[in-house]
């Protein structure tokens, strides 16, 4: 076990507590930077998808994991970002500008939804966001003069400062850059007053207000930032798929994003990466397993949603803190070996309102 000697309060503010962490995260970034030189082109493409999921997950994690507002319609913001970017870019806006504007358009619509949804929490909010996603999907499908409707919309090749980002490798680096910036921005927010206000709203709205947190401002901002990052992911996604259809942004994508957050680990930034890896790998695993299944089952169309749904349920019941929570336990086992006690992470009994006699 490592004990860190703390000699000033700044150490608690820093992202990295000790050099060990600096080393491992540095190694991770180096590996990601060098990856395209060592892996097959196909895997560079897959890694790019993974990075895009991480960006979208960052947005959704801020909303669900840190502000406690459940959205089951985040595919809508992917769609808004994707179409806004593709349309603006085609109109001749520079790549960087149209990427940013796509995020801002998505963020603005997020703010509108956020204000509309201020009084809703839990299941009601989930239903409202699903409806929003359906509305956006329909608008995209019917507004043919702009979006091309169901005939599709061809996304132009990404070109910035005269550099063609069309190749797998350069686009991969672009996405990696956006991931690093997005994650840093959110991590910074979480160690500042506004991020704490969001967490306060998640844990107790009433006492957040008593501590001077403006609920309207905080929830709207959470929605806005969440939609902004997800919209940005959508804009990058549009180049990756090349041709946009309303069918790319269905409720299945929203649920995939939800799974990313829940399976990854609610309320943890590491969880986003775990969740993104999970939803990227799972379809491949299902495809492989399909070969070994009897034809009757393998040919069924609903197999993938079924597996996704079951896994979501199992995680909610048996490991509510997700893959990251599991990793924390495994790490604790090895750092305390052989002294690990099984009850270390046994969920503490919570003091309900009536539990204590006064």
């Amino acid at each position: 076990m490592r004990f860190v000697l703390k000699t000033n309060y700044g150490q608690d503010i820093n992202h990295f507590l000790h050099n060990g962490q600096r080393f491992w995260y540095g190694l991770l970034i180096a590996a990601l930077l060098l990856a395209p030189f060592f892996v097959d082109r196909f895997y560079v493409g897959e890694l790019t998808y993974l990075l895009i999921w991480v960006i979208a997950g960052t947005g959704l994690m801020l909303l669900i994991g840190y502000t406690g507002l459940v959205s089951m319609g985040h595919a809508a913001f992917m769609a808004i970002g994707a179409y806004a970017h593709a349309v603006l870019f085609k109109l001749g806006f520079p790549f960087g500008i149209s990427l940013l504007m796509a995020g801002l358009v998505s963020g603005f619509l997020g703010a509108v939804i956020g204000i509309a949804a201020l009084r809703m929490t839990g299941i009601y909010l989930a239903v409202a966001t699903i409806s929003f996603a359906f509305i956006i999907e329909k608008i995209v499908g019917e507004w043919t003069s702009v979006t091309g409707g169901h005939r599709g919309f061809v996304v132009p090749e990404p070109v910035m400062f005269g550099i063609d980002f069309g190749s797998d490798m350069s686009f991969y680096y672009l996405c990696l850059g956006v991931v690093i910036v997005a994650v840093m921005l959110v991590l910074n927010l979480l160690r500042s007053p506004m991020g704490r206000a969001m967490i306060a709203v998640r844990d107790s709205e009433i006492s957040a207000q008593a501590m001077g947190v403006n609920l309207v401002e905080t929830k709207t901002l959470a929605f806005t930032l969440s939609a902004f990052f997800t919209g940005l992911a959508g804009a990058l996604y549009s180049h990756k798929i090349g041709m946009l259809f309303p069918e790319n942004f269905t409720i299945f994508m929203s649920i995939k994003l939800l799974i990313l957050v829940v399976v990854g680990g609610i309320g943890s930034m590491h969880g986003i990466v775990f969740g993104a890896i999970f939803i990227s790998i799972l379809p491949q695993v299902i495809a492989i397993v399909r070969d070994f299944l009897p034809t009757v089952i393998a040919q069924r169309r609903g197999l993938e949603p079924l597996v996704f749904g079951s896994i979501l349920l199992l995680f909610l019941i048996y490991e509510p803190l997700g893959l990251y929570g599991r990793w924390v336990k495994i790490r604790a086992y090895f750092t305390q070996f052989p002294l690990y006690r099984r009850a270390t992470f046994k969920r503490q009994k919570s003091y309900l309102r009536t539990e204590r006699v006064h």
Partner: protein, 252 residues
């Protein structure tokens, strides 16, 4: 001028008159207590001051200014902090984070500056942290600093909540049954802390409390409520001996 003044305040929920025509004033630097049997409307008074409920009648003044139209978060901005009877902490966060959250009203940075984590944000964080450490020292919370609330025993949670309210640097502190759920030693500590808070930090306190010993030790004036009506205001001994108060607790 009194620090806080309530004139003829009242509120009903449907047909139930939770509070009716209650007036009282709290002087700067005082510890003012509210007592009464269950359902008397003590916590309702706090919820009215916190603006969780709207007043049906009357007015509330802080420093001579009406607060009856403010939003709940503006109450905190005006310098009124409170605790809750059964604790309302941010359960999944550490004690330190809970106390830091209370500095929200002193925040001078925008979310954009915070996302970029400009030097002024870091400076602000360090300033907040130093003030939080003062509170941690005052309430002896050092050993719990990095612990999450949901792993703490109830007695400690009550103290953490007191610390969180103090971190807001209020001029008026509302304590809702601070001793409920505490054992006699913890209650003893609490009475010293309340006196310290009042004398050393100069914070005016309004306290809802059942424990007559605690009341008698720290409070100069007590208001007795029953069924939403004001019975009497006076010293703890006077109120305890008042015939209406005896009747409210023990019956005829």
């Amino acid at each position: 001028m009194s620090l806080f003044e309530a004139t003829d305040i009242g509120v009903s929920f449907g047909g139930v008159r939770a509070l009716h025509d209650v007036s009282f004033s709290v002087e700067q630097g005082e510890i003012f207590s509210i007592m009464g049997p269950n359902g008397a409307g003590k916590t309702t008074v706090f919820n009215l001051i916190s603006r969780f409920y709207d007043l049906d009648q009357g007015d509330m003044l802080l420093d001579g200014e009406s607060i009856r139209k403010l939003a709940p978060h503006q109450i905190a901005e005006r310098g009124i902090a409170r605790t809750f009877q059964n604790t309302e902490l941010f359960e999944n966060e550490t004690v330190l984070q809970n106390l830091l959250t209370a500095h929200h009203t002193h925040r001078q940075t925008s979310f954009l500056a915070e996302m970029a984590f400009l030097p002024k944000v870091r400076k602000q964080e360090l300033r907040f942290r130093e003030k939080v450490e003062d509170i941690i020292d005052l309430l002896d919370l050092q050993s719990y600093r990095e612990q999450r609330i949901n792993s703490l025993p109830f007695g400690v949670r009550k103290i953490v909540e007191l610390g969180r309210a103090l971190s807001l640097e209020p001029k008026l502190l509302l304590l809702d049954e601070p001793s409920s759920g505490l054992n006699p030693e913890e209650t003893e500590d609490l009475s010293f802390w309340i006196e310290d808070i009042n004398e050393e930090l100069g914070i005016t306190v309004i306290m809802v409390e059942h424990d007559m010993n605690l009341l008698g030790q720290v409070s100069a004036r007590v208001m007795a409520l029953s069924d939403g009506e004001l019975l009497t205001v006076g010293t703890p001994d006077e109120v305890r001996a008042h015939p209406d108060v005896v009747k409210a607790y023990l019956g005829e």
